[in-house]
């Protein structure tokens, strides 16, 4: 029995010693060194494996592929992947920068909205990885970090990683585009396919938890044909036959153009445009806005005729052919040139008598002579032109003629809204107003001398007053005009440097036709200025009539100083009375002051 016990003990001891020796022999090598880290292995797990052209065409010839990859590490685990690709064609070879995507799909149990891309070159990818995967919700600081990271990834902003010791410069992550990086091991990429045939080489390498990168990246090569190009369309504009400034102002919004495109496979387009010159440097930056605002600073040819060019680019980077429209005409006002000497156009739009002058309606020659004398006495001889609306028609200078002047003086000289037999009068029609408005919108200047019963001399018919009020408000800056139909106007008191408007008694004499009293004009309005309109004269009423005596009559509206040279907005001086019936010295002073206000003197 004792012997048996001893033998069992020996057997047990021997067996224990044997097992211990085997364990020690297998698991430890006290005399050797630590086994080195094995690099990870990477493989691409799907198409396009060495794709053929036929397969490519079968997918619709779209140069966009989804590639899956996978990595494993025999002595650890994969923490990230580096990937890049090279495009080769007859246009040359281009290689993308490496992208690094972390092999993380959730943080603290919260699924990520998109995989994490690492920016720059972090000191240690594994340190970055460990920081992110060990974040927990228990620690308030970690919770805060998780929130910030998720916020950052949601909005795809770069985010400096807040390690416990503070952010490490250069360690920055951002959320990837989930359309491109669907997971850490799957991505859909666009491969440049501008040539007839294009070879692409995609390579991906896994990174293990010791920052070791697979030295033999997984590689796939495949071919693509040219990607389908979009077609660019100029849907509207630029408007033809318009004035154009070199900058957008409060009153000139620029020339608007709208775009669209046709593309067989995608609606994600960008546009680039140029005017006249299609050299590379002249094209605008690519922008997804389907439209543009053009100014004269975009013009590259000196004339009035310009050509709009448009290109579209789809999401595969394929650029359309250059689209153009028939040339558009655009006139840059000469007065926006810094050295423009200043030119004045006087439009005598007074009513016309066929043969002779009349006390109520002076003939054109008389009015023209009156203004020639004024202009010459102001030293403006040679700087102005006189245009008289012909007796037989109401033709005005057209917009192309008017734009050659910096100031237009519009005259309607008559003493009473009366026309005898054989007389003609031409209203300021809508088309004439449009010309004036467009002239003003690009910084033109206007002086207006008007007759009594102004609105009926500007417009025809029952809506004359209504129409005139719009014009008076928008252009002359009169919030309200009130006509005094009594024989009451004996002159006006000047304000802001304008003279007192003393009537010429040789021209104001009684007559049977207008029931006029001596020295008086009937039908002059008072005009209450609006906005930046300023009163330049006050009504002098013979009877001190309430509402008229010392009420505003003339208005000036001066543009603010320009933000940039040549970008001035318009100015207007509205006398509100017929200057012809004032003493000539008064008319000269008044016009001098008006031209000074408009920087013509």
């Amino acid at each position: 029995m004792k012997k048996t016990f001893i033998s069992y003990s020996r057997i047990l001891f021997s067996a224990t010693l044997l097992v211990f020796s085997m364990v020690m022999w297998n698991c430890e090598n006290p005399g050797g060194s630590q086994k080195p880290n094995s690099p990870p292995n990477t493989r691409i797990s799907n198409v396009p494996p060495d794709d053929s052209i036929a397969q490519y065409i079968g997918r619709g010839a779209i140069p966009e592929f989804t590639i899956n990859w996978l990595g494993d590490d025999e002595d650890g685990f994969v923490i990230a992947y580096h990937y890049r690709w090279t495009d080769q064609s007859r246009f040359g070879t281009s290689t993308k920068e490496y992208s690094t995507v972390l092999n993380i799909s959730q943080i603290a149990g919260i699924p990520l909205l998109s995989p994490i891309l690492v920016q720059g070159s972090p000191r240690s990818l594994s340190e970055l990885y460990r920081f992110l995967v060990t974040l927990t919700f228990g620690d308030p600081a970690d919770t805060s970090a998780i929130r910030f990271i998720n916020d950052s990834l949601g909005t795809r902003r770069p985010f400096a990683v807040p390690y416990e010791k503070g952010p490490i410069p250069g360690d920055s992550i951002k959320g990837s585009d989930p359309i491109v990086n669907q997971s850490p091991t799957r991505g859909t990429f666009i491969f440049s396919s501008l040539a007839d045939s294009n070879l692409h080489t995609f390579e991906v390498s896994a990174v293990d938890d010791y920052d070791s990168v697979d030295p033999t990246p997984a590689i796939v090569r495949f071919w693509t044909l040219p990607a389908p190009a979009p077609r660019a369309i100029i849907t509207s504009g630029p408007p033809n036959n318009r004035f154009a400034l070199r900058c957008i102002t409060d009153t000139w919004p620029g020339l608007a153009v709208t775009f669209s495109s046709l593309d067989p496979s995608t609606f994600e387009q960008e546009y680039s445009w140029a005017v006249d010159d299609t050299t590379a440097s002249n094209w605008s930056p690519w922008n997804s806005t389907p439209g543009a605002i053009i100014t004269a600073s975009d013009f590259r040819s000196p004339g009035e005729s310009h050509t709009m060019h448009l290109r579209a680019r789809n999401r595969w980077g394929v650029v359309s052919r250059d689209t153009t429209k028939p040339p558009f005409l655009s006139i840059v006002p000469p007065f926006t040139e810094p050295n423009f000497p200043g030119r004045i156009l006087i439009i005598n739009n007074s009513p016309k008598l066929l043969n002779a002058s009349h006390p109520l309606v002076p003939d054109s020659n008389t009015v023209n002579a009156f203004y020639r004398e004024i202009m010459d006495s102001l030293g403006l001889n040679g700087k102005y032109d006189l245009y008289t609306t012909p007796y037989s028609s109401g033709v005005w200078p057209d917009r192309r003629q008017i734009i050659n002047y910096s100031t237009v003086v519009l005259l309607t000289e008559q003493r009473l809204d009366y026309l005898g037999f054989g007389a003609s009068r031409f209203w300021v029609s809508n088309s004439k107003q449009l010309i004036l408005r467009e002239f003003l919108s690009v910084g033109g200047r206007l002086i207006t001398v008007v007759s009594p019963n102004t609105y009926s001399n500007f417009f025809f018919g029952a809506l004359a007053k209504t129409q005139f009020d719009v014009l008076a408000s928008e252009i002359f800056h009169a919030a309200a005009t009130v006509e005094n139909n009594d024989s009451d106007f004996v002159g006006a008191r000047g304000v802001l440097g304008y003279p007192d408007f003393v009537l010429d008694q040789n021209k104001i004499y009684p007559d049977s036709l207008g029931s006029q009293l001596p020295g008086i004009i009937r039908g002059i309005s008072v005009n209450f200025p609006r906005g930046f309109g300023e009163t330049i004269s006050l009504f002098d009423s013979r009877t001190n009539k309430p509402g008229f005596e010392n009420a505003p009559l003339g208005i000036r509206f001066l543009a603010p100083p320009p933000v940039a040279p040549g970008c001035q907005t318009y100015s207007v001086v509205y006398f509100g009375l017929p200057l012809f019936y004032c003493e000539k010295s008064v008319a000269i002073q008044a016009m001098r002051k008006a031209f000074q206000d408009l920087n013509e003197l």
């Binding site: 209450f528 200025p529 906005g531 930046f532 009420a551």
Partner: protein
């Protein structure tokens, strides 16, 4: 004997503890200074008074003030109400005419408060242009005896809050002294605040503390 002492212990212990408590207390000299008065006034600065923006009692550019505070170093704030007896500001705001003669002459009082003596280095307030009776925001001007209206455009991102001094403005120190009145003047620069465009003004508020005087 012991029973006697035990029965008297309650009565003896009370004076004993009171005596100990009395001896352990000390009288300290507490200094609590009387407050001063801090008064904040409003001033309009305007170089265009002789042209497009004349000061007059008929001219108006209404501003609505909804809060006003003085700030001490360290961030402690002191609300400033309309007068010394008020306990809060008008909830719908207080209205001031920045184009009035009083605004030009710095005689509009935005608020008064009893203030702890010391130094104050900031004035914070919320102010914004107010519409007229018809809801339009603009400047009413009287020229040649007649009123006119110039609209004011307020960019969408414009904030009512004004924390003075703003970045770029020099720092200031407002000293409040016991039983004295300190008058601080907040100036609205209308040249900068109302930027002329062709048909309207653009509101770009510019305020600064222009003076602080102790009387």
């Amino acid at each position: 004997m012991f029973r006697f002492l035990r029965s008297r212990a309650r009565f003896l212990s009370a004076p004993f503890f009171l005596t100990v408590l009395g001896l352990s207390c000390q009288q300290y000299e507490y200094f609590s200074p009387s407050p001063g008065i801090l008064e904040i006034r409003f001033h309009s600065e305007n170089s265009r008074a002789s042209t497009i923006l004349p000061f007059s009692n008929g001219s108006a550019f209404l501003m609505k003030l909804t809060s006003l505070q003085a700030r001490q170093p360290g961030g402690i704030t002191l609300p400033v109400f309309v007068d010394l007896t008020a306990v809060q500001r008008n909830k719908s705001g207080d209205f001031y005419n920045s184009m009035s003669v009083e605004a030009r002459d710095s005689s509009i009082v935005l608020g008064r408060v009893y203030a702890p003596p010391g130094s104050y280095n900031g004035v914070d307030f919320a102010i914004s242009p107010s519409g007229d009776l018809f809801g339009g925001i603009g400047v009413t001007v009287v020229r040649n005896g007649f009123q006119g209206f110039i609209p004011v455009f307020i960019p969408p991102q414009t904030e009512a809050s004004q924390l003075l001094p703003k970045t770029g403005q020099p720092p200031f120190s407002i000293v409040v002294e016991t039983d004295r009145k300190t008058v601080v003047t907040v100036t609205m620069n209308l040249d900068s605040s109302l930027v002329r465009r062709t048909e309207d003004f653009v509101y770009r508020p510019y305020f600064y503390v222009s003076s602080s005087r102790t009387f």
